[in-house]
């Protein structure tokens, strides 16, 4: 896997100012809560990229997301070269579309995930060097609750909470159901993989998926303020 550990001091107070260090140096694997950027920091860096074309903010976003995107894509079946290509192209899209990222509609990880997933579906367009066509935000619920600009702070809280809630709901699901959902993201032939892992006939896999999603939705409903 080749992880490099690197320690650097974090400024004690104030918002984190990202340093202009090339991100491939120091892919940090220290305990999560010591080093993970907060949602506010991520959103600030996005704003800096959008408003000021701030490259050190872009570097900080790259440092955080690029290795995780790669880890996810490889786990989801991409080979190393494909994953590298998708990660670079996703980060390029982040740079180009930063102004259209709205923290009130979705968390940044979800926004990036959606871009990567669109790029992956649209392989042919990428191979031809064409710019990504689909607009991820359309799928992220333009008229979802919380999109009202008059309630922007609560809306941002809701979007960030939704990601936390999804994480918590995934952890709270019965293990078999969580596995069904994960396999759907990680496996090319998800139905076959689920049938194999759970020892189910292929014909019942669809209903298991629907059950798992229904339970996820129930848990999320229960988490709403």
């Amino acid at each position: 896997m080749g992880r490099v550990s690197h320690s650097w001091a974090r400024p004690a107070g104030g918002p984190a100012r990202p340093r202009a260090v090339p991100p491939h140096v120091g892919i940090v694997t220290t305990p999560a809560d010591l080093w993970m950027p907060t949602t506010d920091e991520l959103n600030e860096w996005m704003r800096a990229v959008a408003v000021a074309a701030d490259r050190s903010a872009f570097a900080a976003l790259f440092r955080h997301f690029a290795p995780r995107l790669k880890g996810f894509l490889v786990r989801a079946g991409c080979d190393d070269a494909q994953a590298e290509e998708l990660v670079q192209e996703t980060m390029v899209q982040l740079w180009r579309r930063a102004a259209s990222f709205d923290p009130a509609r979705a968390g940044l990880a979800t926004w990036l995930y959606t871009i990567a997933r669109n790029l992956r579906i649209d392989r042919h367009r990428r191979d031809a060097g064409l710019d990504a066509a689909s607009e991820p935000l359309d799928e992220l619920g333009a008229d979802a609750p919380g999109a009202d600009p008059d309630h922007a702070p609560e809306a941002r809280l809701l979007a960030a909470e939704r990601e936390n809630h999804v994480r918590a709901a995934l952890a709270a699901l019965p293990p078999e159901q969580a596995q069904v959902l994960r396999l759907s993201f990680y496996e090319e032939q998800a139905h076959a993989a689920i049938a194999h892992e759970l020892g189910l006939p292929l014909g019942t896999v669809k209903s298991r998926i629907r059950l798992a999603v229904t339970q996820l939705r129930r848990l999320l409903d229960g988490m709403r303020p």
């Binding site: 896997m1 080749g2 491939h24 669109n118 994480r167």
Partner: protein, 217 residues
Amino acid sequence: MIHHHPDDDLLLAHAAGRLAPGPALVLGVHLDGCATCRARLAPLLALGGALVEASEPLALAPDAWARTLERIDAPAVPAPVAVPAALRPALPDGMAWPARLDAARASRWHWMGPGMRFARLTLPAQPDAKLFLLRIGPGRSLPVHSHAGLELTQVLCGSFDDGRATFAPGDFDATDDSVRHQPVVRPGGECVCLAYVASRLRFEGRIAATIGGWVGM
């Protein structure tokens, strides 16, 4: 009001990027017009986001950052021009061309039978995808057929009954080899649908089979 939506199985596959460009397009057209399904999709996309956040970081190639910077500094390739309206098959009055279909090349309308026309849609991202616009007059029906695989239908205008339910503008239908049906267009106007077929349709009857082979469905 939209009554028929993709089920969670299909939505999850779509969220996970497991649908090929052809079926993803049909779902995309449905989502464009259905706020309910966009809201249903959102937590499934957030699942993807949560999995990315929780992923073990993998080291990137040493030149990944430099190559990314090269790309952002390179001039962006201009987005392809939307299909000019004159080149699209003519639609019934009052029906808007779904913007998402600009990703596909559309043939002209081909005759398929009395009051029945189809246009072939070709997606650069999946050129062999069997993607069609069907345009069928009131009271007309497609010959009885079954499917060896998945068929997805998104109603763009008009409506049809197929013995299971009525499908109206905005409605989505997914059928597979367990379904053998004969959609009949309701009175009041032409019905235009976007359809994706995973494999050949099995038309019943000799004449129907001839038409089926000729239209390549």
